[in-house]
Symmetry: C2
Subunit: 559 residues, 2 copies
């Protein structure tokens, strides 16, 4: 990679077009775009409603090998492929997630692609953007306040104050808020009880916003949220607190997808950003569907590696939204494959063909897994300057054994010019139309059966196990009518197993379902297989200490 | 009042102009306006910087008698007077505060004027608007997180964890968060300590944003915030945590004033909204100064009655920002004067001239007080349909005794056509130029002396008293270099005294300064004279229960 400019320098030097022009090229009239500054806009709900009769473009998923500290560049490849498809004459839209504000102040680094494959304005996108996450925070905490207010004013619904499951939310890394006792200070402040805050991206409202098809569906799902249980264990819904209408009002603007542009002035929707462990980790259904109506090709990404991200994209998002992906791109880097092959990060600078070959086991399994869903797969090798030809050839040879192709991509360095080969291959795959997408398990399968299916067929574990209390809970939910829901696996992103150090392609492990949670509004049952952190902390030296405005009013230290 | 339409119906029926047109009429180029939708925009910091050489227009303060449950209509009169001045050929801009989100879900009612004197889009202004309050919330909670993170990673600054004075903030009415213990759950979550949340408008950052002259001044003030004390009682500043740069980054957009329009398509800045008890209760200095550069007349309001609002506007905002108000309008209603004269709210429907005369004592004292600052005063009687001619004449006669005029205004019913008389009188007063504004006390006076001055000359109390611990604290701050700051009195808004039931014009009461707080970033010392609630609760039946979107996607139940 020859670029010596940082991501933010490249982003700032971009010759952005007015966002109204980007919208006009998609056929969106100016009065149907709600501007936020001159380079960001929301697409109006009315306009989206007017698109229903149109045919859909082809949906391309970008997923990856298991993440390593070496970096894979999934968002970068998603953006690059969008630019590449536009370069070869296809009308393509990129659909990615919105980054969370809180983590920006912890570890350095934004999340809007990189190099010459970015969405802009990068700084705005990483900060308040169009206020979607703030709206979700507000809606979340309104519901929280209504719960304690209900307890305060007599608890007519008979809520068991020990079984309030709805916590509070902030878009901030603040470990001190993970666990707290509120309602102290005497009678006028309510009843003390133990609760805590999650980061906004972990809010069920984030998952709901990303799965809802329109405002009506949003309101219904918000009403379906289980906030607490009574002494007889019966659930109390947000609807029982009459919270759903006001929450919908707070979220009405946030439901409209955000249009921005790539460095090459191609359109991108950046909308929604649920966690990829306790939630499904994809951008919003509204954005994806809208993009499919407006473009020949829509390139979207899913969180973490394909074992978590692609599995949930297929089994949750595509199933529920009726999406039919035409192809999947699995992003790998030589560096990540080496780490999966046992090389330490410090030793990545040396050629090591054997390690690459060993690490390919991880890639191979993701290829097999994606194909299980009836979706053709292609491998993108996101090129780094230290990669050697022999290492690259090792990956190519390995992938060929699956009847697939691995294509070297240089979009980080060269923008769309570096990713034409991948774009052409994606078009070839998509237009032959041999995708036969189907989710991995039917709605009718038992909840534990669904978990077992993912464990055995995707993680290649020997078995899924759970304590009787967990199995009882699943049975109760099935009896209550939630048995048709898909499952959302919360597992470490670093391994196919629940052991984050077991890289490569581990086999025959046991996956313990330690806890299950019902996200009744989002519409899935979460299976927790390890420690899941829903409120991050800040590091010893937070990035916040160096973030500031320079003399020209530009942000320094954020990226 | 003949209107049968609700405020929101009138607001929705408004023929709004594109906000770029409103800006263009003020001479703001389109590329210097940052649009938020088609009807809201921020004025760029660059454009504001370019105005420094221009002369200032005339500044008119709108204040009021002490508030009663009968309603006074201060914001409505501010907006109406702006329209009235434009109607008679003056270029006028209205400058009002942004409403807070949290209270919208408690008691019904927005805050953007009323009847035919409103700023629009009313629903957006009352909800997320341009995200300013969310940005303040984020900046506030970043600082909070950095404090607990500092304790977690070894507390190099030696913070006494019992003396952390910086709390957290949310723009939500949530009494359960007033008092809490955070950091529970074991070593990985930090050190347990007692703290709580305030509503965002009570954040010192809100006051700072409203008093800062530019981003540089903002950053300096943010750094000056005292977040905690060490075991030796020495203060720990936000700057010590290196938080000021990142907070400034979070607030850079929020610092830019928001341009909207009145129902009559005249320009209005709606920007900032600090509490009027523990803070100074005025819109931002940046908005006011920018408006003065762009208009002949700027009409602005201050919180609560003139004893709190006008006093702080003059002694804090005008002193610190170098503003010289040309005239003040004191808003009264026949109904409010009757209540100040001893009539219960249920009996306001009957003519009662004697009660009006008795209640005028409250008005008279506010007239005297405003004139003490060298600012000419005029009384606006905000007309209600039940007002009788004899009641109105009683007020006119009373005000004439002060050599001033009381003018009946019908802007609620008729828009600018109903307030021409007041507009002409304001112009006459302002253009004769006999305003000789001066703050009530010099910077050099002792802190307690400043409190005594306000108590005696504004509240007409016999004395201010304070425990030795309070006096010691003030001496310590004076020794530490904070003696030059103005004082910010936190007193009930309902009475000149500290007894909220003592209406009219009580005399010779004692005002006890129970507690003092140093807002070192905002630049004032708060004197607390009673119970001050910085986190409201929700009522038994919150407005949130009825707020929803109707079939056309319009908000119902918010107003």
């Amino acid at each position: 990679m020859t670029s010596v400019q940082s991501d933010i320098e490249i982003a700032r030097a971009a010759a952005k077009k007015p966002i109204m022009e980007i919208g006009a090229a998609l056929g969106i009239p100016a009065d149907q775009l709600v501007p936020y500054g001159h380079d960001k806009a929301k697409v109006s709900a009315d306009f989206i409603g007017s698109l229903s009769g149109r045919p859909d473009g082809k949906l391309i998923l970008v997923t990856a090998v298991n993440p390593t500290p070496a970096g894979e560049g999934k968002t970068t490849t998603t953006v690059g492929l969008g630019d590449g498809l536009n370069r070869i004459g296809k009308r393509a839209i990129v659909c990615v997630r919105e980054p969370s504000l809180g983590p920006c102040f912890g570890m350095k680094g934004g999340a809007a692609g990189g190099g010459y494959a970015q969405v802009v304005p990068m700084d705005d996108i990483n900060l308040h953007f169009t206020g979607d996450f703030h709206a979700i925070t507000a809606a979340h905490n309104l519901l929280s306040a209504l719960i304690d207010n209900h307890l305060y004013w007599g608890n007519a619904l008979g809520v068991d104050s020990r079984r309030v499951v709805w916590r509070r939310a902030l878009d901030m890394n603040d470990r001190a808020l993970r666990d707290m006792v509120c309602g102290l200070g005497g009678a006028s402040n309510g009843f003390p009880r133990q609760t805590g805050f999650d980061i906004t991206v972990a809010s069920e409202i984030m998952a709901i916003l990303c799965l809802a098809s329109d405002l009506e569906d949003l309101e219904r799902r918000l009403g379906d949220i289980i906030v607490a249980y009574r002494h007889d264990k019966s659930p109390v819904f947000a609807r029982d607190l009459k919270a759903d209408g006001a929450m919908t009002v707070l979220l009405k603007d946030a439901m409209q997808p955000n249009l921005v542009q790539t460095l090459e002035n191609n359109p991108a929707f950046v909308h929604g950003g649920p966690f990829a462990n306790i939630a499904h980790g994809c951008n919003s259904v509204v954005a994806t569907r809208t993009a499919l109506k407006l473009a020949d090709y829509v390139v979207t990404e899913a969180g973490f590696g394909a074992d978590l991200g692609a599995e949930k994209f297929f089994n949750i998002k595509c199933r529920k939204a009726g999406l039919k992906p035409a192809a999947a791109v699995i992003v790998a880097t030589i560096r990540a494959l080496k780490m999966n092959g046992g090389v330490a990060k410090a030793d990545l600078g040396h050629e090591n063909v054997d390690a690459v070959k060993a690490g390919c086991a991880n890639l191979g399994r993701h290829i097999e897994n994606v194909k299980q869903f009836g979706v053709p797969a292609i491998v993108a090798i996101n090129h780094f300057s230290g990669d050697t030809d022999r290492e690259i050839d090792a990956v190519r040879d390995y992938v060929a054994r699956f009847g697939e192709e691995a294509i070297v991509c240089r979009h980080w360095e060269k923008g769309s010019a570096g990713i034409v080969d991948l774009a052409e291959k994606v078009v070839e795959l998509a237009e032959t139309g041999h995708a036969q997408f189907a989710p991995l398990y039917p709605d009718e399968m038992s909840l534990f059966g669904k978990m077992e299916t993912v464990v055995k067929r995707i993680y290649r574990g020997a078995e899924a196990v759970a304590e009787p209390t967990v199995l009882d809970q699943l049975s109760q939910w099935e009896a209550a009518g939630y048995g048709h829901l898909p499952v959302c696996m919360a597992k470490t992103q670093y391994s196919f197993s629940t052991d984050p150090t077991a890289l490569g392609a581990p086999n025959d492990h046991t996956v313990a379902i330690r806890e299950v949670r019902l996200s009744a509004g989002a519409g899935f049952v979460v299976a927790i297989t390890g420690q899941i952190m829903t409120m991050p902390g800040l590091p010893r030296t937070p990035a916040a200490e160096t973030i500031h405005l320079d003399d020209r009013g530009q942000i320094e230290g954020l990226f």
